[in-house]
């Protein structure tokens, strides 16, 4: 790593939560508009997190503190590695360290709500983690490498990997827990008081998790954006558009069953990946 790499790493780590918080604020605003409400200000997520950070440190057991920290740190690390264009497969594996601890933190408390939420989060991970790697496999077939640097030099992945792009959009939907995939906890729009996996995380440690969620949201949106890495502004617009679609789907659909989610995501994931790679062979893009 060179000095510029360190600087980029640092800049990404500082800027990402700001962007993530803003996008979450926009999400709440748009959702409110769809539901005919006025909605909170765009900066509301920041107010929430600041308030949570200053709250009493309430924990059920010590392990939760560790779980929250590691979830945040792994999210930060994966975003940083993304910014310096490292190996994408490694980035996904680093991201999943945090998720594993996030789940264990909830399982470690004896509340039935946390426990059920954690079990459901595991099912969500089972649904989207392989899909995320399928996306990388698709990129590998086009770029001949898992390195983000090589993948980005390809330019317009979207034209070669349209179905893989759909798979990644699906991952985004499951990952940020929007309907019909909001099993482990529901998003703000549904205003449920007991929030599954998050039930026993409170105060500053809940704030850490919120911030980590912002990092992961931005990371996924950035992965969508590199499908048009020739011009990253267009890429960003594409990813924001997908996010907007997710908000709409969230508001017009109800929660489905876990079994449905698992079979739906795996069937869509596997068949779209295979079809897309078959298409690459026919169009001689595959390297």
């Amino acid at each position: 790593m060179t000095w510029t790499d360190y600087l980029i790493f640092l800049a990404a780590v500082i800027l990402t939560p700001l962007i993530g918080g803003l996008i979450t604020g926009l999400d709440r605003k748009v959702t409110a508009l769809i539901q005919g409400r006025y909605g909170p200000p765009v900066l509301q997520p920041f107010y929430d997190v600041v308030k949570l950070l200053s709250k009493e440190k309430m924990i059920v057991n010590d392990f939760q503190i560790f779980a929250a920290y590691i979830y945040l740190l792994s999210a930060i690390l994966s975003v940083g590695f993304f910014a310096i264009k490292a190996d994408l497969l490694m980035i996904i594996f680093i991201m999943s360290i945090g998720l594993v601890f996030y789940v264990i933190g909830a399982l470690a408390t004896r509340s039935p709500y946390s426990q059920v939420g954690a079990q459901r989060e595991l099912m969500q991970m089972l649904a989207y983690e392989p899909l995320l790697i399928f996306v990388l496999i698709g990129m590998y077939y086009v770029a001949g490498s898992f390195n983000l640097h090589d993948i980005m030099s390809h330019g317009r992945l979207l034209l070669d990997l349209p179905l893989i792009f759909v798979v990644l959009s699906l991952v985004l939907d499951i990952k940020i827990k929007k309907s019909p995939f909001d099993f482990s906890t529901s998003e703000h729009a549904h205003q449920e008081l007991v929030r599954g996996i998050l039930t026993d995380y409170a105060g500053p440690y809940l704030a850490l998790i919120e911030i980590a969620d912002w990092y992961e949201l931005v990371l996924l949106l950035a992965m969508l954006a590199i499908f048009w890495s020739q011009n990253l502004v267009i890429g960003a617009l594409i990813s924001l558009f997908v996010f907007f679609l997710d908000i709409i789907v969230d508001n017009i659909s109800a929660r489905m069953t876990l079994k449905w989610m698992l079979s739906f995501s795996w069937i869509v994931g596997i068949s779209f990946t295979v079809l897309n790679i078959a298409y690459l062979y026919f169009s001689n893009v595959s390297r």
Binding site: K57, V60, N61, I65, L73, L77, M125, W266, I270
Partner: protein, 627 residues
Amino acid sequence: MASDLVLISIVVPIVMSLITITIGKASARKVFVSATLLIVFLSSLAIFKTANLPAVIGTSYYGIIDKLIKVGDYVLLLYTLYVSFKVKEPKIAIFSILQILPLAYFELFVLKEQEVSAFYIDNLSIIMNLVVSIVGPIIALYAFGYMDHHEKEEKLVKSRQSRFFAVILLFFGAMNGIIFSNNLMWLYFFWEITSLSSFLLISHDKTEVAIKNASRALWINMFGGFSLLVGIIILYKYTGMITLDAVLKSDTSYILLIPVAFMVLGAFTKSAQMPFQSWLLGAMVAPTPVSALLHSSTMVKAAIYLILRLAPTFRGTTLSGFIALYGAFTFIATSILALSQSNGKKILAYSTIANLGLMISSIGINTSSAITAAILLLIFHAVSKALLFLCVGTIEQNIGSRDIEDMKGLITKMPVTTIITFIGILSLMIAPFGMLLSKWMAIEAASRNLLVALLLILGSAITVMYYTRWIGNILSEGHNSKFFVEKQPTTVKFALYSLVTIAIVLSLAVTQLFNAIVKPEINMLKMSISIKAAAGYLESNLGGFSIYPVFFAIGLAVILAFLTIRNSRDIVETKPYEAGLNYDDSNNGYDVKNYYLPGIINEEKMTKYMNYISFILILAVFGGILL
């Protein structure tokens, strides 16, 4: 020099084993066995330090060893024939006779006597030898404390430990025999000894179910031995080769693939790949150190060793592609089955089979990064799996159950063992531990082969699920629980601490490990090295992985959490949320069970269909020769 060291590593444990069986006094036996373990350990270090690799070395005792082995073959097979009648399992007799007849025919009429170099040593042998001689003795030491407790539980009047430790020593000798033999007939002999030893170990408790499972293990492995023997006979008949170095030197040819396929099939049975998995699952009835041995440093790893050994002979063939597919299928199938289990030992057993499948799949992919992944997986799996089995054994002796649902709140009852188990499980499933790093390498290497890649990816996602909820269970704690101080025998403590240390240190030093012993092996196989490793960074031509930042992040989280807990006075311990109901701190209060997905996964039914598929895949492996 080197030949003497190798001879020591094989002969000493075998001879000592024969002596151990006569020692009735517990303390004398412990000293004697410990001394042997020390010799095994030191000889492996000495071989590692002194051998010039790769080496084909002879020994002046060739003639006498060869005669002993020739006689030994028949003694062994006749003994299994006797076992067959004793346990009333005709399948053992069938496969014994199926081996005796061709063996006699082969040795009397086909094989032309000639003296060949006795031992073949390269980095792969060294790696395997180190795994056997470091992990194995640690497990054997653990058995000291475990077996005393075990016999108390069983209320035995007369201790059977002499026989137990004798067989374990025999096992180590036989493993070293497999690893270093250059003559394939020697390899076959030691291979059969391990099958017989595992029968003796599994049946140790002499209960009806133990004997039943042990005899199943024996006949399945005898089938494997038969396949190996057929492979060797065909090889000699058509090519005149009887030594490993000759096979490895010869150019890949069509005729070589047929015997190799038979030998690989033998390895499939020994590594309990589907549809042969039932013997390893049945082996769970044995005392825990036995399971730990079979699953980590001996038995199943002998199979991986053999396939790795033969990998150059089928590189680039269709056969190789089918082996990759077959391994990948076992990986995902057994991962799915593991998901439906709540018995800790069974989860570990299925995950062993899955990981062996992953190794076999990597060997089948057969590129330099895939072979690297396979070798690293072999090393890391041996350490972590041994550790976890010993943890489950320790937990079981304390709480009386091996069900992960019963392990809820374990952290309060056995804090130290729980933390070690926790680290052990992490070392199998998340970055930056060596297992995941190797998995990363395997997936990148497999990505050209779409079907194999998809199976590996789905399988590893499932792995994360069944291990995560296990950790969640052991770490879950009630409100204001009291932590107990554990009391363990010294040998048990020693085994757990040393294995967990090895697991962490090896993961931290993976680049050094790669450069010191894996890279020379890849070089020797004359494959272009596509992996570079330095300063915690592993780089392939497809990408790269930095380990230190991840360890740094985990360390930072530990420090931050520790400082928060110590420095803040305003932390409030609260009760778990139960929607206003009174919190019940007993084990069976508002307990939520893990999801085992019984609606989707039915072990019995699925096993049946998966066995059919794997059977077809094995046929495909053989079909791969023709293509």
